[in-house]
Amino acid sequence: MKHVKTMVALAAMVSGTAVYAQDDFSGQLKARQGQFRIMAINLGILGSMAKGEMEYSAKAAQNAADSLVAVSMVHQPPLWPEGSDGMAIDGTRAEASIWDENEDFLSKWADFGTAAQAMQASAGDGQDALGPLMGQVGGTCKACHDNHRAPAN
């Protein structure tokens, strides 16, 4: 019996330590910054075609749009644990408003998904379609950054 108690206490200590070790949220930070990086790379492909800096390719545009939709389907709450804002930890510009106004934050993420799907539906239809679609996607990016991301240093 005493042996069991010791085991439980040890297990609690170990798991407690494990939780403590995760408190810098480095995994979540990498994951969410990585997803934004995937978005930027694919928006870069679509945007360069829209600006005329890269030759339009229906296939490349479609692939990029599909990738944006894929990112938009990643369920966000596990990537944004309480206490992983820029005031609490280094390496992030996440504003506390993400948690204080969580519904607003998640609805803005959903708006990005809607715009990404519009891009997916028409990205293959030619270069002319890309401009307005990029405007829509960009609008959802800045709507969220306006409230929920701190300025760069």
Binding site: M39, G44, K142, H145, A152
Partner: protein, 295 residues
């Protein structure tokens, strides 16, 4: 002795009179504004380019709600916190009962209808360069916007900055309607200059301020600390700033930087406004910014 006192008293009176003269609120020296025909649709363009809603709409307003100019946004500064007033068309709490001349005085000279100075958190030092026609069109458009009966809140400004007459001295030091960039070679550059230096009031954030809060025009658009908190407002002048003209125009249209990060904070509002202007206006701003390189 007696004579000395009289001379001193006279000198003091003269200084006081000069002081009162310098600090008085001088209205806009406008020509006959009423003779101009207002164009409401163009007024909307002036409204967007001037970014009125970015400060005067409620903080959480989006879409149509951005047209309700209820005020309440808090602007932090070294001098205290300015609380943006209601400028909706409400006759009591907004500016609905103003005349065109009063509106022009407020916007271009920073003088209220009852003859007080406004604090330069309201960027009249930039709007001073606004054309008569644009003032008339803007006023016509703003009268079509919704009324809102939210009372304006007082500014939270400590002594001595709460003495509004001191703003009169500030104005003589810092407000005139001269252009910062004097030579513009093409109509596009001229339009870009008007959008940047007058309506868009870009310099108000992107140019550093001196100890008295006036713009240091020798470092025009060279970046500045962010008065509203963390971070720095970017330098738009060479060699620091190396975006192409296409990049700048595209950023103003979509909010995407050349590496496809996206605008945030106050610039998100600017992009929301500029994306609704003609493509030629975004190109004009880009041309003006690129022309800074060659100086």
């Amino acid at each position: 002795m007696g004579r000395g006192l009289i001379v001193s008293a006279a000198a003091l009176a003269a200084i006081a009179a000069a002081g009162l003269w310098v600090t008085r609120a001088v209205p806009d020296e406008s020509s006959d504004l009423a003779a101009l025909t207002p164009d409401v649709a163009h007024g909307e363009q002036v409204f967007l380019a001037s970014g009125c809603a970015s400060c005067h709409a409620a903080d959480d307003a989006e879409g149509e709600a951005k047209l309700v100019l209820t005020g309440g946004h808090r602007l932090q500064s070294d001098f205290g916190t300015f609380v943006v007033p209601n400028i909706s068309s409400d006759p009591e709490h907004g500016i609905g009962d103003w005349t065109l001349t009063e509106f022009a005085d407020a916007t271009r000279a920073g003088v209220s209808p009852d003859g007080q100075h406004y604090y330069p958190a309201f960027p009249y030092a930039s709007y001073a360069r606004m054309t008569d026609q644009d003032i008339v069109d803007l006023w016509a458009y703003m009268q079509t916007l919704p009324a809102d009966a939210t009372p304006s809140a007082p500014h939270e400004i400590g002594f001595p900055f709460n003495i509004r007459r001191s703003v009169g001295v500030w104005k003589t030091l810092y407000v005139d309607d001269d252009w910062i960039v004097e030579d513009v070679a093409t109509p596009e550059l001229e339009r870009g200059r008007y959008l940047v230096e007058a309506l868009g009031h870009c310099g108000e954030c992107h140019t550093p301020r001196d100890a008295l809060g006036g713009l240091d025009t020798s470092a025009w658009l060279a970046g500045a600390p962010n008065p509203s908190g963390r971070g720095r407002i970017p330098d738009l002048s060479p060699p620091e700033f190396d975006w192409s003209a296409v990049d700048i125009a595209y950023y103003l249209e979509t909010g995407f930087t050349p590496d496809f990060d996206s605008a945030g904070g106050s610039m998100a509002d600017v992009v929301t406004n500029f994306s609704q202007l003609p493509e030629s206006d975004r190109a004009a701003v880009a041309a003006y910014i690129k022309a800074l390189s060659s100086e």
